[in-house]
């Protein structure tokens, strides 16, 4: 029993990391209508930027901020110079998916040439261990959970309370109508890429902090988990992504505890397929703020 409680604790940490990433991903998808398969690459790049600073003696918390900035800038530029021109040309969804994959391929290998295939670790003090019953978490992990909760609240406030958030929702719902209502959709989309890019960078850095050791090859794994969380909750739905992240996190850890660990992803993804059969619009469709018209 203790094993399951402990696993639940780790699940909370995983869920937090996935949630930060998946919310950014699903907002990109919901508002810009683009499945950005380069998301995992941007995550791991941000983690490496934080690593470069960390190696220079900067604390990892400052590195976290740098990771966020890197993610934001990289995502913004990716959209500005690659995705947006193609979308203006009217490239199909599947065309955009292939473009984002090509972009991820190129960026991956450029950086692979720079940092090499070796895995690295942050210099960080995990802090005193906190025990809650059978749950054993480090201070850093508790802080990661805290960051995730805080970010989710910030995103909620952004979408419901601010002008930018409302404009984002309007753009997601109907871009041409939003434009005719005087919403500068171009600038809104830039804002979306900056905000979601920052989430992406933060997620990459906290994921690397949580894993103790990371390498180039981790990006692909991040991407698939994020896709699963986003679709599970209903693609394009920030609240759905949060729910999806929690479910994926809990299911992977609990199944690692209950059955053989090599299948832990399979269990989570199997539930995803089940949801697709039974409730194809995702768990929270029509509830989230960014519902794309079905």
């Amino acid at each position: 029993m203790d094993l399951y409680v402990a696993a639940l604790g780790f699940a909370l940490v995983s869920a937090s990391v996935i949630a930060i990433a998946a919310v950014g991903f699903t907002m990109q998808f919901g508002i810009t209508n683009l499945i950005n398969l380069a998301y995992g690459v941007v995550m791991i790049t941000s983690a490496y930027v934080a690593y470069a600073l960390n190696q220079l003696g900067v604390t990892i918390w400052a590195g976290l901020a740098a990771g966020a900035v890197c993610g934001a800038v990289l995502s913004y530029l990716l959209n500005r110079f690659l995705y947006a021109p193609f979308q203006r040309k009217g490239t199909s969804h599947i065309g955009m998916v292939i473009i984002s994959l090509a972009a991820s391929l190129m960026l991956t290998n450029v950086v692979l040439a720079i940092v090499g295939p070796t895995s690295v670790s942050y210099t960080q003090d995990p802090g005193p261990t906190i025990r809650i019953g059978a749950m054993v978490l480090t201070t850093v992990q508790v802080l990661i959970i805290g960051i995730a909760v805080l970010l989710m609240l910030v995103i909620h406030a952004l979408l419901t309370l601010t002008r930018l958030g409302k404009a984002m929702r309007a753009t997601a719902a109907n871009p041409s109508l939003a434009r005719s209502c005087g919403i500068p959709t171009g600038r809104v989309i830039d804002g979306v890429w900056l905000v979601t890019g920052a989430l992406c960078g933060l997620a990459g850095t906290v994921a690397a902090m949580n894993s103790d050791s990371f390498a180039v090859s981790n990006g692909a794994g991040y991407l698939i988990t994020i896709l699963a969380a986003a679709v599970l909750g209903g693609a394009g739905q920030p609240y759905g992504a949060m729910l999806g992240a929690v479910l994926i996190g809990v299911m992977t850890e609990l199944s690692a505890a209950a059955i053989s660990p090599e299948y832990k992803e399979v269990v989570a993804f199997g539930v995803l397929v089940l949801v697709m059969v039974l409730r194809p619009q995702g768990l929270l469709a029509k509830v989230g703020a960014l519902a794309p018209a079905g």
């Binding site: 193609f86 490239t91 199909s92 292939i98 473009i99 090509a102 053989s260 992803e265 018209a293 079905g294």
Partner: protein
């Protein structure tokens, strides 16, 4: 050189068959089959376990099911059949209710699941190590090392390409093909005209599965080995890239794409004289492949050979798929 060229010819044939299947699904019918490689893998594994001896052979160093030592062409037929059969459950899960972008993601995830399960379930298909020492077709009757055998293999592959091409042409030109295109262009309208959209999608999905299974069987007969590392999900993406370069919805374009991208481009990079630290050139190859895809989509999104205009001109410019009901 002969062996290299015959190898290329067989790989090209396999890619052509795969691209034709994908063109039927994606080009003609608008189904974004991101798990295409799974059907190819199913065909390859089936052909392998049908032609291999029982797993106690060769010192029992690998574990797998069946091992029937079936004579050629039974393994190939079996591979095609299993590819088609697998399309039924996958199609029923994915194609019935999901929106097209969901379908793409669902199939991508399915590929990852399938690969993970096969990698870890060793008694089924020997897990991560995959199946090796798969006998080549007619290995008992012919000297598989001879040049003549290589030519024979190329000839059989070519015959399969022609067969698949004729079938694909037939489908595209038939009333059924017109219905598929109608569905691609406007699913709701096609449904309103009394066409059973799910049934249409399912049939072409199964046809594509059969062809994909055949392509896998041809490949495994040639290389004698199949493992999870040979069918990771990016493989499918490269086939899509080939279709985009060649021209989707155009069977000749699909063949051209198969020659240009997986064969022409990937093989050309092998001839680069070495420079820089090891690993640099291969990394640059990938960068170059990425730029090729992006460049093509920018300058010639309909491909080298665009889809021929059939009876009715498409309602939207090529290179776009109408965002069904999204705005």
């Amino acid at each position: 050189m002969t062996y290299y060229l015959t190898t290329l010819a067989v790989y090209a044939g396999v890619d052509m068959i795969a691209c034709l299947a994908l063109s039927l699904q994606f080009g003609t019918s608008g189904i974004v089959n991101f798990s295409f490689i799974v059907f190819q893998a199913a065909g390859a594994y089936t052909a392998a376990v049908l032609s291999l001896p029982p797993d106690t052979a060769n010192g029992g160093f690998q574990q797998y099911i069946l091992g029937l030592e079936a004579p050629f062409p039974l393994p190939w037929i079996g591979g095609a059949v299993v590819g088609g059969l697998l399309a039924l459950p996958v199609g029923l899960v994915v194609l019935r209710r999901l929106r097209s972008d969901y379908q793409a993601i669902a199939m991508l995830v399915l590929t990852v699941i399938a690969n993970t399960v096969i990698t870890n379930a060793r008694p089924f298909l020997n897990g991560a190590a995959g199946l090796s020492l798969v006998p080549a077709p007619l290995a008992a009757q012919l000297d598989t090392g001879a040049v003549g055998y290589q030519y024979l293999y190329v000839a059989i592959t070519a015959a399969c390409v022609v067969l698949v091409f004729l079938i694909a042409q037939r489908i595209v030109d038939s009333p059924y093909g017109r219905t598929l295109r109608a569905m691609r262009e406007h699913e709701v309208a096609a449904g309103a005209l009394g066409k059973h959209v799910v049934a249409l999608k399912m049939t072409i999905f199964v046809v594509g599965g059969v062809i994909a299974g055949l392509s896998g069987a041809i490949l495994v007969g040639f290389i004698g080995l199949w493992a999870p590392a040979t069918w990771l999900y990016p493989e499918t993406i490269v086939l899509f890239a080939a279709l985009i370069v060649g021209g989707r919805g155009n069977n000749v374009g699909a063949i051209l794409g198969a020659v240009l991208v997986p064969i022409g481009f990937f093989e050309a990079t092998r001839f680069i004289p070495p420079f820089g630290p090891p690993g640099l050139i291969p990394a640059l190859e990938w960068v170059a492949i990425g730029s090729l895809i992006i460049g093509f989509l920018w300058w010639r999104p309909a491909g080298v050979l665009p889809e021929p205009r059939h009876v009715f001109p498409p309602t939207s410019p090529l290179g776009t798929i109408p965002a069904r009901g999204r705005r």
